[in-house]
């Protein structure tokens, strides 16, 4: 690896690990102190390594320095020391020094526990994602601002308020008891899914960043499958879903950065390894009788990767959307269901269903109707596409729509 990439790479992989351990050590009231200590560690690394060269084991160097800085901090702040979380380990020597455990077991445990603490229903979803990106994914404030298409000040405020709320509500950094874990995992999964979608549906042009968001979401979900108490069917289903979506990363965007629709994608660019992973996790998810919404969405995604077009596929997809809507309504699911219905029962039947949806302020609704009218009533199709273009907020969409209108006019 080139030396100028070393610090960012190590930052990405190690910041979150050390921070999680220190957060757990200090408690929820002192997340910022944990972040600062680790930040200082990296600054020292940059200055020292620039001067004296990179050490043989850079990560180990970081860990030693972080431990030393933590001990120094605690020595200087005896009041803080007394209030530090009960998880603190004391070493046996007389100085009663605090042991900072940076073993891989403790790192893993700490990250899992931080995940539960951060995915707390008492703070807004975008704050949960923001904090996850910062603490669990090592994102810098700038990167988070980019991800949300906003500025540093907004993110700083958001994270500050979130941490205050966590303090106020005395959220514990610990694994939830077995009786609560099902419910708590729900919140975590919602956040991870939102994080994934931030990347997948982002209108940002920075494809490296958006892909990163998806990969981070997948990494965190995967972490849950590696721990026995959190390795639940719905977790595996969500991971399967993410794998299937991610398998189409390279086929979704052309060399100009424009969106390529599913039906126009080059299948050879679909990542077969990710598809296989998805199938593997889908199988792992098939335990027990309860079907979560993630099971249904993963099954739909599976059908979309398995084949492009066949009567059986669309019947299955329609059935899955029916069941998904019965579990939870969403306008996107309603529209996708109608599209599948068109494939099974024809455009006319689908148009009748579509017009009952009550979604005529939604650009996707008009996009759908444009498709459904394309064959039989060209003028209506053009009208709907034009309306969609007026309602949509992204230029990527407008480009796609313009092409559809042009196709119809010839």
């Amino acid at each position: 690896m080139q030396e100028k990439e070393l610090i960012p790479y190590l930052y990405r992989t190690e910041f979150r690990k050390i921070t999680a351990v220190l957060c757990r050590l200090f408690g929820i009231e002192h997340i910022t102190i944990a972040e600062d200590i680790v930040g200082d560690t990296f600054l020292l690394a940059a200055e020292t390594w620039g001067l004296k060269g990179v050490p043989a084991n850079p990560a180990a160097w970081l860990y030693i320095v972080a431990k030393n800085k933590t001990r120094d901090f605690l020595k200087r702040n005896t009041i803080f020391n007394e209030k530090v979380s009960p998880h603190v380990q004391y070493s046996t020597d007389e100085s009663h020094e605090i042991e900072v455990d940076l073993s891989s077991t403790n790192i893993n445990d700490s990250q899992l526990q931080m995940m539960f603490a951060i995915c707390y229903p008492g703070i807004p979803p975008e704050s949960q994602i923001g904090l996850s990106l910062r603490i669990l994914c090592s994102f810098s404030i700038d990167e988070i601002a980019d991800a949300f298409l906003t500025n540093k000040e907004t993110i700083n405020k958001r994270l500050y308020r979130a941490k205050e709320k966590l303090k106020q509500d005395k959220v514990q950094i610990e694994m939830p008891p077995a009786s609560e874990i099902g419910k708590r995992i729900e919140t975590v999964l919602t956040t991870l899914y939102l994080l994934f979608n931030e990347g997948y549906y982002s209108s940002s042009r920075n494809t490296v960043l958006t892909k990163d968001l998806c990969l981070e979401a997948m990494r965190l979900t995967h972490m849950l499958t590696e721990n026995e108490s959190t390795d639940k069917p719905e977790v595996n289903a969500l991971l399967a879903l993410m794998c299937f979506h991610a398998s189409r990363f390279d086929a979704r965007v052309d060399k100009n950065g424009e969106l390529i629709l599913y039906e126009d994608q080059d299948i050879s660019l679909w990542n077969s390894e990710l598809i296989k992973q998805g199938e593997r996790y889908l199988n792992r998810a098939a335990k027990g009788e309860l079907i979560s919404r993630y099971h249904l969405e993963a099954a739909i995604a599976y059908w979309h990767t398995a084949e492009r077009d066949s009567p059986e596929k669309w019947e299955k997809v329609l059935s899955l959307y029916n069941r998904l809507l019965m579990v939870e309504y969403s306008p996107i699911a309603a529209l996708n269901r109608t599209y599948a219905l068109a494939k099974v029962y024809g455009n006319e039947a689908a148009i009748i269903e579509a017009e009952k949806l009550g979604l005529d302020q939604n650009h996707l609704y008009h996009l759908l109707l444009g498709e459904l009218y394309s064959e039989a009533e060209r003028q209506k199709a053009i009208w709907h596409f034009t309306t969609a273009s007026k309602l949509t907020k992204t230029s990527a969409d407008r480009t796609v729509i313009r092409k559809k209108i042009e196709k119809l006019k010839h």
Binding site: E234, E289, L290, I291, S292, R293, R323, M326, V327
Partner: protein, 116 residues
């Protein structure tokens, strides 16, 4: 533990028949019965109470006014309870206040639908 539906039926009785004290008594009876089951973890869902209006739709889109009235009794509401057998659920039903005013309780097994 399984789940069972309880469906309450009675002949239609306009509320005006009962005095306020009697109505208070009726409410307390229901609260005591439901509350007792809830406290023992036997109540899965407090279900719904149905209004007395209704319509009945039959094949060929024939619609008649009023609740289903092939018999004199109409459904007043339903709940879902937890019990280890239908007979145990029937035992629970014996405490239902609708029985004191001439109503009856139908207890039925429930087929799981599978979705979360």
């Amino acid at each position: 533990m399984n789940e069972f539906a309880m469906i309450f039926r009675n002949t239609f009785q306009p509320e005006a028949k009962f005095s306020p004290e009697e109505m208070q008594n009726i409410m307390q009876q229901w609260q005591a019965w439901m509350g007792g089951m809830a406290a023992k973890g036997q109540l899965a869902s407090s279900g719904n109470r149905l209004g007395s209006d209704g319509k009945t739709v039959r094949p060929s889109a024939i619609v008649t006014n009023g609740p289903y009235a092939e018999v004199k009794e109409i459904i007043g509401g339903f709940i879902v309870v937890k019990a280890s057998s239908i007979d145990e659920a029937a035992e629970l039903a014996k405490g239902c206040p609708t029985l004191t005013v001439g109503g009856n309780v139908e207890v039925r097994s429930i087929i799981p639908m599978g979705a979360n």
